[in-house]
Amino acid sequence: MLNNNFLNSFQLDILKEIGNIGAGNAATALSGLLNKKIEMNVPSVQVVSFEEMMELVGGADMVVAAVFLQIDGDLTGNMFFLLPIKQATIFIQQLTGMSDFSFDEPSVPELALSAFQEMGNILAGSYLSALSDFLQMHIVPSVPAVGIDMFGAIISYGLIEISQVSDFAIVIDTEIKDPDTMNESDLYKGHFFLLPDPDSFVKLFTKLGVDME
């Protein structure tokens, strides 16, 4: 049921709006946490092969700081909040006031890691609670897991469930930027990835009264 032309343009727009509502709320939360302006791009909804998925942030090798949650309830799937390590270091330095560490060094202080985990938890929580309100669906996020590692190794966890039914994933991707870094490179762009399980699209569109034909 999942293939490249699975979604019509109306359905794509709905998924974009879902990304917009969720990530908009999360970006506001981030802005409040750091007491600074955060920019957000229009969400993109893509039907991608797993290989294309790996290229979304700059390659499977790229090292990212990630918070990963599994979603349960009326809607199931996976959610990731990803920051390139340079940007993660900047945010967590600002948040904690510690300036003598970097996520690209082997020993990251426990406090920095747990600050990042809490940041991810708050942001993913605001993303999902906005969705839950909008969709009037019960959404239960798992305890967040943190990883600082290669993008490919991390994101593949979001593909395991999907890979049992399909060779494509539908990803709702919203980019956030820190206007202070003023850098257009992938090394500074954060991402919210929402990867609903294949069954969830049917539930979601049914709930919103969208024709599945």
């Binding site: 599994q70 690209d104 290669m150 190794a153 039914v165």
Partner: protein, 165 residues
């Protein structure tokens, strides 16, 4: 004549063949396992980047062979045999199968790394292919590159010096 070697890249749920002096690489192995089958005499190797242990998990209509341990190993052997390799000459090296997010153990999905490793080993045993070296488990992602010339597998992880197995 100077031959320049190129690096053949294998994506997730994909498999390819390489001959010396070229090398073959796959990036960002997490719970996935990279399986290298090689023949040092003929200086040829195949690499598969598998995601799941067992094709019976598949709920789709078609089975994508490189995705599952049980179908990928067999398919890789067939590809190499087409290139004139004798199955009896094949040896194997594997890497990957990490548990990236250890404390989330509530579902089977979180144990997928070790299950992938077990499944690959079982397949190698089934085809009597000796497993010469492995770098599996742990909690780090890996990028691997194999040289069919030397038979060495380079394993790179974040924040650690790369090693050869």
């Amino acid at each position: 004549m100077i031959q320049e070697s190129i690096v053949i890249k294998v994506g997730i749920a994909d498999m390819k063949i390489v001959t010396a002096p070229n090398t073959i690489r796959t990036s960002g192995l997490g719970s996935c396992v990279g399986v290298v089958l090689y023949d040092l005499q003929k200086k040829i190797a195949g690499l598969a980047h598998i995601m799941l242990p067992d094709s019976s998990l598949a709920r789709g209509e078609t089975i994508h062979k490189a995705k599952y341990a049980d179908t990928a190993v067999e398919c890789l052997i067939q590809l190499l045999e087409k290139e004139g390799v004798n199955k009896k000459q094949l040896k194997a090296k594997i890497a990957g199968g990490a548990e990236m997010f250890k404390f989330m153990t509530k579902t089977d999905i979180m144990r997928i790394g070790p299950r992938n490793v077990d499944a690959v080993k079982q397949e190698l045993k089934k085809f009597s292919i000796p497993l010469v070296a492995e770098d599996v488990g742990g909690s780090s992602g890996r990028t691997i590159e194999f040289s069919p010339e030397s038979g060495k597998l380079m394993v790179r992880t974040v924040n650690q010096p790369s090693k050869e197995i």
